[in-house]
Symmetry: D2
Subunit: 297 residues, 4 copies
């Protein structure tokens, strides 16, 4: 199927990525009458509207830029990185692992700067829904602003609340916690997720991960997985091909799990197979062991 070549020029309302010298990037939305100011001169949006994607444009000082459309990864790298540790290397993997795509209903907490919120909103599209909880007002305002800039605010509902009070939603497809203490909210998570739905979290330290694992066991979550994603770049030089000198060693450990309905009917073997603690005893025993490990006695 041949597609309309008419989509090849930048139009009013489009998200634009300007890439200039010294790797200077600008991401913004085209609006008639507006002006983009850079350290190398200004550019009128009106001069960009109608220009073909991929061409060179210049500031009023004559400095050159390529006019491009940004991908999700470009958008994510654009957002100020404050507390969040979610990079594109994690985000793609989270979306695919948790089944987050067009039409899905997803909840996340906390919003942070909105990096993951943007990815979730992008992936679920206009037929899906994202609800994002955050307790710090300024943080939420910043994220809402970022999402609006990226034109992704429409499918997102922002709620200002500490999630210890619980989530309003029920039967959610996927729920992601990007907070330092997710183990404190597993009961609330379980109430919001549909059985068999996907829970996900990212944590920087092994101490936090083992705490969360204990909580997930206590609440009979199944199919618990922990992993880390490492990304190594190569210098794209055909006659001297090699990895770069340095790389990101760690962002966080990813934890995924799925709640199942557990009652007297469920065979213990099946529960064990799925990794579900079959009795409170398992968990109590684990907690004791952890206590010993914790104090070194």
């Amino acid at each position: 199927m041949e597609w309309n070549i008419g989509l090849q020029v930048a139009q009013s309302g489009d998200l634009v990525q300007l890439v200039g010298l010294r790797h200077k990037h600008f991401i913004f939305r085209l609006e008639p009458g507006k002006v983009l100011h850079t350290h190398r001169g200004y550019l009128r949006h009106d001069d960009l509207i109608g220009k073909p994607w991929g061409t060179q444009v210049t500031s009023h000082l004559g400095n050159p830029f390529f006019l491009l459309q940004p991908s999700l990864a470009d958008l994510l790298r654009e957002l100020p990185r404050t507390t969040q540790i979610l990079y594109p290397k994690e985000i793609g993997f989270i979306l695919v692992t948790m089944g987050i795509g067009p039409g899905k209903h997803v909840v996340e907490a906390g919003t942070g700067s909105g990096a993951l919120t943007a990815a979730l909103a992008y992936a679920v599209g206009t037929t899906g829904r994202v609800v994002s909880y955050e307790q710090r007002e300024e943080m939420q305002a910043l994220a809402r602003h970022n999402l609006e800039r990226l034109g992704l605010a429409e499918q997102v509902t922002f709620k200002l609340r500490n999630v210890s009070e619980g989530f309003d939603e029920r039967g959610v497809d996927a729920l992601f916690l990007d907070v330092p203490n997710p183990h404190d909210y597993i009961v609330q998570v379980q109430a919001a997720l549909k059985p068999g739905g996907y829970f996900g979290s990212i944590l920087p330290t092994t101490n936090q991960v083992t705490q969360l694992l204990l909580a997930l066991r206590r609440q009979r979550f199944a199919f618990i997985d922990v992993m880390e994603v490492l990304l190594r770049y190569y210098k794209p030089e055909p006659t001297r091909f090699r990895p770069t000198d340095r790389m990101v060693a760690h962002t966080g450990f990813l934890i995924f799990a799925r709640p199942v309905l557990v009652d007297d009917e469920v065979s213990p073997e099946l529960l064990a197979e799925a990794g579900v603690a079959t009795s409170g005893g398992d968990v109590a025993e684990a907690m004791e062991l952890m206590q010993d490990n914790g104090t070194g006695e």
Copy 2:
């Protein structure tokens, strides 16, 4: 916003994931009257329709299974892995890096078993479009069958052709080549992609990667990136937390690039900044060096 709890039971037409003992997984679509045969007995679809997600169901022999909805990663792992080397760890990263989401127009070659095709179809949703080229008829038939099983065939157009003849499409958002010799098709790729669009490929050997890098340079592709994604699992045991013993060491190197419009107008500095070879001289020189390296003389 509270959502309809009514979505919590399996319905006719739904994609189902049955997880049983000994990690046996079955993914299939519910259809009244049909029967699923397993080594541990059979299950009637009619007995599953109407059951809540996340509960236990049993075969006629009494063997237990959890009734779940699969994520994209679950679907991908289900597909027979023949020639393809694309795992969830790559696929999520490819989607995010190449900006593949709801509504996008994507082309890929070859189809292979359809693993990436499924991921692309899933991500672009019903408002997007995927065109997949494959020259081996049995391969295409298999992929089409897989996509239909997964209910993702609707937004995919399968074309039986060797892509040296070129792609029919123009102004495509993203184009992925999963073939052993992508360097042979870069001219065709450039004709199909919109300027600033995303090209991607995965190759197992460094020899193939350097060949592709040369071809991309020759064709003035910009923003060339090469990387690899490594995934390491951890044993999810809170009192004995550690990485697993073994891991996948390599699937392939990922290569991404974006074509830009290059003519006399474009400043050489901007081209250099974007990694575009500024004269045929660069490429000829690189080819000479490669020839020497190749023979070791």
Copy 3:
């Protein structure tokens, strides 16, 4: 300086590595009159003595083998791997980091199968000394046997004891603990090591590592380092060069530290710089935090 070519033939008493078809390896010491039995026939030592290194020899059935001298890594891979997790990738790094070389005095516990003992004995040479503690008699006997086979038993003293009773040695250059609970013996370690000497350990889980870190802090060890070593092989095929498909994901975390003399004289800033807890308060606080983390409450 030219060296004596006379060293190029296998001699009585030499350690030999026979490498045959299907990667079958044999490591043994040449002794006149003895016979080596393999699944592919037997070889008389007398037929090997006097043969040049690197040539082909055959069993009485005519099966071929290369006659080689083994390196330390070859010797290490030969030892049966029971409980130990020390691979060549760790062992070389341990030797270099802990300054273990000719003439040094080293203590280790437990002996295990003697893999590290062999490496230590090899590295310190005939002018150095290794003392190896083990509490299981059969384990010690096995290790002693292995070290004798490798001709490395001379510089090793084996002691049958649980190290909670303490080490006999004082002013040791380096001390390595390969036991599940090294945190229980840090006081004993500190008594045996010379100030500024090197302590090392390897542990499989993060739980064990954090326990050990607490104990090291309590005992005012300085310059504490934790790391892991990953090794990835490549297929040595010049036209299809790439990493292998799979790799070892984890053996253990390496921990190194050096005790320093801490008294009222030592400036708090210097102690902090070296990572030494400057007051019991730090450690008590850490233990409390660990306790909370441990139970998840």
Copy 4:
């Protein structure tokens, strides 16, 4: 066996490691009458001689330092890193893999700043021998100076020569090439190594590695291995244990191989098993393929 506590004080002629605030390290040899100048004051060697290892000493301005004995790794990190890419993570592995220990005879080229030379000299001890070739006079002078500072110059013979002229030595145990074009010297390497001896090299790019692999094949080297060593540090914080943020992504690819005696007698299966090209045909074919790959045609 209890050892003499008398070794616990610094003595004239000892190598000393002074570790101060802000991680300032000094490595030098104690000599009566000499003075060490630091940015934080000077220290008289006479005030250090006789002090116990591991204690605090102060400069004339009162700035504190720990008085320690350095390990090989400490010494290696001290050497100025000019062209060499050999880190402790590689060096330990090289020593163990190539069987370099007390009494061995080792050759290397080029000397560079002497980092590997120092490690080789340290490992072979006073009963071993190291010959180091270098063609740049200033480089050799620098290395000789470094080795003398470290007290390791005695077992090293420095030769000023381009190794294309060949090595003087024969029947060498191990030979390491740290040059950009080792493939040019494989004939010379083979002449110097004893059959079954160990060849090693480190190269930064895959292009150089594949060139070397071709040359090794042509010269009938066996047991060819290629690998890379990755090291990741962890923050040694017991209550917040996690990997550091960044790490070294690449130093070089390690290549090891062993020459064997190949003649009509050697069974083709054994040669194939050991990875030896059984006919010139293999190599010619490989060279052709490489040529194609090199130009992409």
